[in-house]
Amino acid sequence: MQREVDAGPRLNFADFVTLVITFFSLGVTLQVLLIDIGTSQVRAFIASSVIFSATSQFAYLAVKDAGGSEWPAILAGVIVATRFGILAVSLRPRLPEGRLRRLAATVNAFDPNVAIAVQQAEPKAAEREFWRTTAAMMLGWFSGVAVGTFLGDVLGDTSRLGLDAVFPAALLAIMGNLLRTRDGRTAGITGGLLCLVLIPLAPPGLPIILSLGGVVVAVALSTEPRLSKSGTP
């Protein structure tokens, strides 16, 4: 295999369709669950359209559900969204020229589009694959959110369908690659255990916030050399 020839993966039609279906199902599920716990259809539609982060919405709702107050719940939602900040950092070396184009790509940083963009050898290809992936995600998400908003009223008891297991499972799949690395696994297991122990003890919201301690433990236990030669993931 010659390295020059390897231009990076392309989003083919099957990948495009899979992404649309994936984001469609997530959008539907999120809406149905939001409406099931008592959010009005209009509010659920607006929330999922503008926040566009099921992780943050779920972190917020989990804290509220545990009896937490507004700000700890919001803080938990914002902390889990650091994922998107990190994705924006990873995307930096692959950002296109031009202020507006950089801005547009940065605010749309998600797991699938950043993953494909950083694997491209050519900047032009990186931008093209980034936006094709983004288009698939958006198409799936917004149609899913729209359909889910209507289904929410029709479906009834969602726990019967096992929908409450969908989001933890989806998050696990998203984090799969990171949890496969040694440091990622240490951070994940420690963070998860901290949260588990703290749920019955600490005020709602704090278990998620304090799970950040898992990062400290992972860095302390890391066997990676102190100075890596580059910051690329």
């Binding site: 659920a44 969204a81 930096r92 019955p200």
Partner: protein, 100 residues
């Protein structure tokens, strides 16, 4: 979801991308240890959210059909199953256990 939470989360989610891409990013790239720590944040906090969504009922810990579903998802992720298979596996396991 309250109006306050919708506004605050929107700013928090989209704002962090701008922070990462334009403010913290350029500085962070020169701090290898901090960069590594920052990349581990999602592993810790997202796992915490997974735990909360899987075994918490309010502030009590419960082991129910959800846990079984997420465990099945864990095995599927470990075996590198496609995303939709993972999600469906979790939902079907949970639904079947509840139907019993």
């Amino acid at each position: 979801m309250t109006t306050l939470s919708i506004i605050a989360l929107t700013i928090g989610v989209w704002g962090q991308r701008l922070l990462g891409g334009f403010v913290v990013g350029p500085w962070l790239e020169r701090q290898p240890t901090l960069t590594r720590a920052a990349k581990l944040i999602p592993a810790a906090v997202v796992t915490a959210v997974i735990v909360q969504l899987t075994v918490a009922d309010g502030r009590t810990l419960v082991a129910d059909a959800r846990l079984a579903g997420v465990l099945v998802a864990g095995v599927l992720v470990w075996r590198k199953a496609p995303f939709l298979v993972v999600v469906l596996g979790a939902a079907v396991t949970t639904a079947l256990l509840r139907a019993l």
